[in-house]
């Protein structure tokens, strides 16, 4: 990736990328289910490649979780959410919050694919004074709704967004992606309780259930199971899916859930798509060597 811009330069709309994203969205809207799935899978593969470029160039990042969440992000931004990258502050846009903010590289790749800014700027991920911080910052990055990084913050903010839409009688929806490990933070359950109390049927929480946290498997750290039962007990409608099946994700994100918030438990594989990273706890934030980077790209195929 080459760019002539200064790392600290503000991010600007990428008209070409925006145009391409709009074309994909129009095609998507007219396509049959099989074509939709192949389009989402293609975009997800591209995002995974982008994540590897970004993290390899920066020399840091959280590659395992970036790869596990790639199909979720792609399905939302390529197929589900109502957005206008030309107007990131449009009042009635859908809101997306990446509560697992350490997977910023995957989010930035997704936003660049929508044209919020040029993919060339991904070369500045986590560079000194770059707007593309190691964790998302809404004041620097168009398309980012709130600042995340400390775990357990995204769902309360998402509940606030969904409450705002409910109070205003507006149709926009809020999607929050949570890491499974971060469900150990109690603030999530404060928010979960209140979301059900308010009957926020405009809110979807998506759990990237890759079963690994920074140091160990979740179940060896602080047992999350039975996870679906926990959400149900808090008053949520639960939808469990294969988190790498974009057709299943699309259905889970678009089927109405009147009177209740929805929790989508997306069963995923940390490091998905790169055999030697899959299910390896060390790939939480290990950076691939040059040889590993090339091997990973080869596995993911050509762009």
């Amino acid at each position: 990736m080459q760019t002539t811009e200064h790392p600290a330069a503000p991010l600007r709309l990428d008209a070409d990328a925006l145009s391409a994203w709009r074309d994909r969205r129009q095609t998507f809207a007219r396509a049959d289910a099989a074509s939709r799935k192949s389009a989402l899978d293609r975009s997800a593969r591209h995002l995974r490649q982008q994540v590897l470029h970004t993290i390899h160039a920066a020399g840091l990042g959280h590659v395992g979780g970036d790869l596990s969440v790639a199909d979720i992000l792609t399905t939302l931004f390529e197929g589900v959410m109502t957005l206008d990258p030309q107007r990131p502050d449009w009042e009635e846009r859908d809101r997306f919050i990446l509560s697992k903010g350490h997977c910023a590289a995957a989010l930035y790749g997704t936003l660049a694919a929508c044209g919020f800014f040029s993919a060339e700027r991904l070369a500045h991920f986590a560079a000194d004074l770059s707007p593309l911080n190691g964790h998302p910052n809404r004041n620097k990055i168009p398309g980012v709704e709130t600042n995340t990084g400390p775990l357990g913050h995204g769902l309360p903010v998402g509940v606030g967004c969904a409450t705002a839409a409910q109070m205003a009688g507006q149709a926009w929806r809020t999607y929050v992606v949570l890491g499974d490990g971060e469900l150990q933070e109690g603030s999530n359950w404060e928010a979960a309780m209140y979301a059900a109390h308010r009957k926020l049927d405009n809110l979807v929480a998506i759990v990237d259930r890759n079963r690994l946290q920074q140091g160990l498997p979740t179940e060896e750290t602080n047992t999350l199971e039975p996870l679906a039962d926990k959400w149900r007990a808090f008053g949520w409608q639960v939808h469990e899916v294969d988190g790498h099946d974009t057709a299943a994700l699309y259905e889970a994100f678009t089927t109405p859930h009147p009177g209740q918030p929805r929790a989508v438990i997306a069963h995923t594989v940390k490091g998905k798509g790169v055999s030697f990273m899959e299910n390896g706890v060390e790939w939480h934030h290990k950076v691939p060597s040059d040889a590993q980077y090339q091997a990973a790209l080869a596995e993911l195929g050509e762009a």
Partner: protein, 318 residues
């Protein structure tokens, strides 16, 4: 010497509630966010007028502050109303990340701050709030001294595009500010001129500093009294002027000495105009007791302030 009688005067929560309800009438974006604190925040009237604009998340402060950020994202103007020890302590990281760092114009209203809940013990004292909030990024901090100033801070906050933390006092205070007083960040008010010593106070301590100045005047000592409501940003020019024109400063606050108003003044003067100081406040977790007992225990009375001024002057040559 007469002691200032703090069993009479005004509970700033009533002014807070009345002004917030009036502001909400003019601005449909205004909502109150609380943690089962409708009663303790005196929001009954607001709820009666605008039942759908009270977001009561229950006893869940982290969620409360996060929800306020989300409401701001969605176009509302949230006033978070909760007992100050729990708002600032329990939700400190949410205040840092979701409000200040994210830059949402949320109004954080710390109710019953200082040692207003004296009898309930150190868990319910909010003496650390100013230190915590001062350390947290670009957050305006206001400690109004009376009902009129409480109203003024609210009017400012309603129009502000930045986050603000204010203390809303429960302990009764006399009126010390004119009804039409305005709040401007970084602006302090000289309530009494004097050339010997400066008494710089906030909140419940302002009326006591004025009473202390009366005592000192009877002894021939002219004390300047400053209401430093804007703790952050501090009115640096006014503090420096006082440092140059008087022989020293006494800071007075109902809070810890480590990081509050006195610290802010000391940080400024140490670097720009070293000046003799006495800092009155709380230097440990406070014991349990009535508010008036605790204030006296830490010398936060008119007598205590006058004594500190005398000691300061005794130690400085003119």
């Amino acid at each position: 010497m007469s002691k200032a009688d703090n069993s009479v005067g005004f509970d700033c929560r009533q002014a807070f509630a009345d002004e917030l309800t009036a502001l909400a009438a003019a601005d449909p974006r205004i909502v109150a966010v609380c943690n089962d604190s409708v009663g303790s925040s005196n929001l009954g009237g607001f709820r009666k007028a605008y039942p759908d604009r009270v977001i009561n998340v229950g006893i869940a402060e982290q969620n409360m502050v996060g929800v306020a950020a989300g409401l701001a994202n969605g176009g509302y103007k949230p006033f978070v109303c909760a007992a100050s020890p729990f708002l600032t302590g329990r939700a400190l990281e949410q205040i840092k990340a979701d409000i200040v760092y994210a830059g949402f114009p949320v109004v954080l209203c710390g109710m019953s701050p200082g040692m207003a809940y004296g009898e309930l013990g150190p868990t319910h004292h909010s003496i650390e709030d100013l230190a915590w909030m001062r350390a947290t990024g670009d957050l305006t901090i206001a400690v109004p001294a009376d009902p009129a100033q409480t109203r003024a801070v609210l009017r400012f906050a309603a129009a502000s595009e930045k986050p603000i933390f204010l203390r809303v006092g429960r302990h009764k205070v006399p009126a010390v500010m004119p009804d039409d007083t305005a709040f401007t960040p970084g602006h302090a008010h000289v309530l009494r001129e004097g050339s010997d010593v400066t008494l710089l106070a906030i909140g419940t301590m302002v009326s006591r500093a004025l009473a202390a100045a009366d005592h000192l005047a009877a002894e021939g000592v002219q004390a300047r009294v400053i209401n430093a409501c804007s703790v952050k940003p501090l009115d640096e020019a006014l503090v420096l002027t006082a440092a140059r024109q008087t022989r020293g400063l006494v800071t007075v606050e109902e809070g810890v000495l480590h990081g509050g108003l006195g610290s802010a003044v000391a940080e400024l003067l140490a670097q720009q105009h070293p000046t003799p100081m006495r800092m009155l406040g709380v230097d440990r977790l406070a014991p349990t007791g009535s508010t008036n007992f605790l204030l006296a225990h830490f010398g936060l009375t008119d007598d205590g302030i006058a004594r500190a001024a005398r000691e300061l002057l005794a130690g400085t040559a003119r």
